[in-house]
């Protein structure tokens, strides 16, 4: 073999190595669609374990679950008083409560608990467990069971309407006067102000009962005491199989003491990932049953795995869920700014943005143009209710002229603020060019998230972006925090005493239809002032494996693990 030949051989081998590595990018996992055509209506099979993607939760102890990851696990372990119907979020069903009744002015709510309900360790669930759990959330001196140190909850605001809340928060009392165990099965809540939608608030998974003895004394596991925070014991359909393996997994199994309908699956493995792309790879490797779809792979996933019929339910062959979430992406206008206090200018900006183009080009159609601050899943939603949340260049130009800046003349450069590195750049580029088209010159003002948040709080912005995900799917949870003049989330700083008054009045209306109508009227009043410009409704972008049937991932992003069943391996 000549030296030249050997050198060429080496070159060729190195090239082969490089080409084969590059070629692998095109590799696709082969999946075989299930035979039953994706109806999920075949004979239900019991058993099996479903695996589910989550990020590392902050807390799974109900007293402080505020982010989606912890809530996902926590809601499988606990039942709150009520539950939002996964496929009809306008509807409430009983969970720990059999029934509930507000008084005439919606200030006192009486909940009758389900008979025979038990925690997974077999101790009965009583009204006292709710009293203890709720006070634990609000008490500023609550001890974190993991560290035995004071670690106050950040979600006490859910119970801000309960009578005595301020006294407990202020350290004047340790128990809210408004929560009472009338008897073991009757839990009575007195509010400091009327709130007809309160039954939706108590559906929040964090407001579940907890067993005081185990919270304070720890949970027995393999002959040792494990802190409640790592091994919460609840009244839900599942129970912890072993203590939380931080950074790796949380395993739950069916709770034999559950009073409701028992789940079909033996358990759920919540696998903890750092990165959604890694989770999708694990899904494609066939080791994960429910995962977020990797960036730029939504169209391919739709072709490969089929799209869910209702957007929320996964069945074999109809595995990609793209249903609308109860969340809105919107631009906020600083109404205290010298330029943006001009109503016609706000209208012009709102009318100039091509929302459809953003949804199609940036999000592969997985977001929907918003025509309302309320998403379609909320009871008060009306199509096109926000009349300036649409793309109408002629109207935008007319509004700009009305504002005193025909074709943008005389208007200075407007600052577009957003947090960098989170994918907003592409959206803002479209907004910028749309505004340029009607004559408004803009300049980007991006900063990392902490700096951005601070500038919003300080009111140092002109036009900025935000997203709002409802805690509970009710109109009040959008309109009150975003537009009530004293709310911390009212970043546009809209101050309208009429809106404030109407929002308080609407909370008193116990008749559902009447209340929804009142909120729709308030929504109309608000939208006429254009404090914000809704851009898009968020949508799910997740995919389930071909072996899971009838799995519902609802508009709040919570999985219903009680109805899912797993096809046996072929």
């Amino acid at each position: 073999m000549s030296k030249r030949f050997r050198v060429s051989m080496a070159l060729a081998m190195a090239l082969v190595l490089l080409v084969s590595m590059a070629g692998m990018t095109g590799c696709k996992a082969k999946t075989t669609p299930s035979k039953d055509g994706g109806t999920g209506a075949g004979d239900i099979v019991k058993g099996g374990t479903m695996s589910f993607y989550i990020g590392e939760p902050a807390y799974i102890d109900p007293y402080n679950t505020q982010e989606s990851e912890g809530t996902e696990v926590e809601q499988s372990l606990f039942d709150s008083l009520t539950r939002v119907d996964p496929l009809d979020p306008k509807n409430l069903v009983g969970a720990a409560a059999e029934s509930w009744e507000p008084n005439a002015d919606a200030t006192v709510f009486t909940f009758k608990l389900k008979a025979g309900a038990k925690f997974s360790d077999g101790t009965p669930v009583t009204a006292k467990d709710f009293v203890y759990a709720w006070n634990r959330i609000v008490n500023p001196n609550t001890i974190n069971t993991l560290t035995k140190k004071v670690d106050a909850s950040v979600i006490g605001y859910h119970l801000a309407f309960v009578k005595g809340y301020d006294d407990v928060v202020g350290g004047k009392a340790t128990e809210m006067s408004g929560v009472k165990a009338i008897d073991d099965a009757t839990f009575e809540v007195t509010l400091s102000q009327p709130f007809a939608d309160f039954a939706f608030v108590v559906a929040h998974p964090a407001l579940a009962p907890v067993p005081q003895a185990l919270v304070e004394g720890g949970v027995d596991y393999n002959g040792a005491k494990v802190p409640f925070g790592d091994f919460p014991v609840g009244n839900g359909p599942f129970k912890m199989a072993e203590p939380w393996k931080h950074g790796q997994y949380i395993k739950v199994v069916a709770n034999e003491n559950y009073v409701g309908e028992k789940p079909y699956v033996d358990g759920v493995d919540f696998k903890i990932f750092k990165d959604t792309e890694a989770a999708y790879t694990e899904f494609e490797a066939g080791n994960l049953d429910f995962a977020p779809i990797g960036e730029g792979k939504i169209k391919i996933a739709q072709e490969k795995y089929g799209v869910s019929a209702d957007g929320y339910t996964v069945n074999p062959g109809k595995q990609v869920v793209l249903g609308a979430e109860n969340a809105t992406y919107y631009m906020i206008f600083n109404m205290a700014d010298k330029d943006l206090k001009n109503l016609a200018l706000r209208k012009a900006i709102s009318l100039a943005i091509n929302r459809q183009a953003i949804c199609d080009t940036v999000f592969e159609g997985t977001r929907e143009p918003a025509d309302n601050i309320l998403p379609p899943g909320i009871a008060g939603y009306e199509k096109g209710a926000w009349e300036f949340a649409k793309y109408d260049v002629a109207a935008a130009k007319a509004a700009l002229a009305e504002a005193g800046y025909p074709e943008g003349k005389g208007l200075g450069t407007i600052k577009l603020s957003f947090n960098s590195g989170a994918g907003h750049e592409k959206i803002m580029e479209i907004v910028q060019s749309d505004l340029k088209a009607i004559g408004i010159t803009t300049v980007f003002d991006s900063a990392d998230f902490p700096v951005y948040l601070k500038s919003l709080d300080a009111g140092k912005f002109q036009v900025a972006r935000l997203g709002w995900l409802a805690d509970y799917p009710i109109t009040d949870n959008f309109l009150y925090p975003l537009f009530q003049s004293k709310s911390g989330d009212n970043k546009s700083k809209i101050v309208d005493p009429a809106v404030d008054k109407a929002l308080d009045e609407a909370r008193k209306i116990t008749d559902d239809a009447g209340r929804i109508k009142a909120y729709q009227d308030i929504n109309k009043t608000i939208q006429a002032q254009v404090p914000v410009s809704p851009l898009m409704f968020y949508k799910h972008t997740r995919v389930g494996s071909s072996r899971i049937n009838n799995f519902v991932w609802d508009a709040q992003g919570l999985g219903d693990f009680t109805k899912v069943w797993i096809s046996p391996a072929k």
């Binding site: 070159l11 974190n144 004071v150 928060v169």
Partner: protein
């Protein structure tokens, strides 16, 4: 040697103080929202709750007070002077449990559990905070007391867990991954370098040179993803699952060590290529020197010349590189950990930096600092064995 090591260990102190002081200063002057607001994301938090949480965590205090808190909590030994006056009765402390009473006149306070163990004096130097003292042991001479406690790194702002617990469960995975990557680097890096040098301009030399060029140019995360697609997805399908490797994680259906294969190859890739190149060039340089020619001239066999004479000198830069690289790996590998979902310390610290979870950042940096300084010391000591001319300590230099 002993003198040298003790001098190096003493040098840790200014390095440690310098790095941590700089860290506290930077953290304090970072612009933007506070960690409590970041925990809530875009949702507002009521000012009273925020103030309370900041106070609970000691974040309402000036940075230098936080720095003293940190140093004090980390230190296992404290000298405390009790002035002998009786403190206010504390219902949490069992009657008769106090060996020594007195309000504290001079202390460096430490943060510890809310309910103190028996036999320990509790004091509350500032509202909302309780300190325990002398958890392990205490010796009192008059009012002056020497107290021993386990080191503490505080609690995470984001999830309220002890930083030592968080690092305690992630760091072993970082060490495991770093060790397996460094073993690959030593075997394949040095091995390929030697082969390449002694068979200069051969097929193998060109192969090593080309492959190392390719490996150096490949982004680590891309290589990781490609390995996943090949071994976890493509091979699984192509072979019907007869031969495949796990895509992510640290445990599951395979033996635990199998989960290390793909991440350690990924982590080692670039450094292995560098190690091979350094080894090759060093060995070529050394073999061209007079003393090697002399060794050959004296009739020593090639094997003895290579291993006995050339390698020792050629290895010094390689050992330096690999040692420093190992120190780097012990600081965590954010990209490899993300791609393979490896539960190491790198991503934990990265997340903490983004979320301004300062106690984790401080604690993580502290552990890494010790690991890296220890590795550097080992590298320096190894020189003595490779080259007897390098002397340590004494007045020689």
């Amino acid at each position: 040697m002993f003198q040298y090591i003790s001098r190096r260990v003493l040098q840790f102190i200014p390095v440690f103080l310098g790095v941590t002081l700089l860290l506290f200063l930077t953290a304090n002057y970072l612009p933007g929202a506070d960690p409590i607001q970041l925990k809530m994301g875009e949702k507002a938090i009521d000012p009273a709750t925020k103030a309370r949480l900041l106070k609970n965590l000691g974040l309402d205090r000036p940075w230098y007070a936080q720095y003293v808190d940190y140093l004090s909590a980390l230190s296992p030994v404290h000298v405390v002077y009790y002035d002998g006056t009786t403190p206010e009765a504390d219902p949490k402390v069992p009657a008769g449990a106090l060996k020594q009473t007195g309000t504290v006149a001079l202390i460096i306070p430490r943060i510890a559990s809310e309910v103190p163990p028996k036999g320990v004096t509790t004091i509350s130097p500032r509202e909302g905070m309780t300190y325990t003292r002398g958890e392990v042991a205490r010796w009192a001479i008059g009012g002056l007391t020497l107290e021993f406690d386990p080191p503490d790194l505080g609690t995470s702002i984001y999830n309220g867990r002890k930083v030592l617990d968080i690092l305690g469960e992630t760091y072993p995975y970082t060490v495991k991954l770093a060790l397996s990557a460094i073993i690959l680097e030593i075997i394949f890096g040095i091995g390929a370098g030697i082969v390449s040098a002694i068979k200069k301009n051969s097929f193998w030399d060109v192969l090593v040179t080309l492959s190392t060029s390719i490996l150096v140019a490949l982004p680590v995360f891309w290589l990781g993803i490609m390995l996943q697609y090949t071994f976890a997805i493509w091979l699984k399908d192509a072979t019907g699952g007869a031969f495949y490797l796990p895509a992510t994680g640290a445990s599951g259906e395979f033996a635990d060590w199998v989960y290390l294969i793909l991440p350690s190859i990924t982590l080692a890739s670039v450094s292995t290529a560098y190690a091979a190149r350094i080894m090759r060039s060093q060995l070529l340089e050394v073999t061209g020197q007079d003393y090697i020619r002399t060794a050959y001239a004296k009739g020593l066999p090639a094997r003895k010349v290579l291993w006995g004479h050339a390698m020792k000198n050629a290895l010094i830069p390689v050992v330096t590189f690999i040692g420093l690289d190992f120190g780097g790996m012990l600081s965590g590998a954010i990209l490899t950990e993300s791609v393979f979902n490896w539960p190491g310390v790198g991503y934990t610290i990265f997340r903490a930096i983004v979320g301004r979870d300062f106690p984790i950042v401080y604690g993580g940096v502290t552990i890494i600092l010790f690991a890296v300084m220890f590795m550097n010391l080992l590298v320096d000591i190894s020189y003595a064995f490779l080259d007897p001319r390098i002397r340590f300590g004494g007045g020689e230099s």
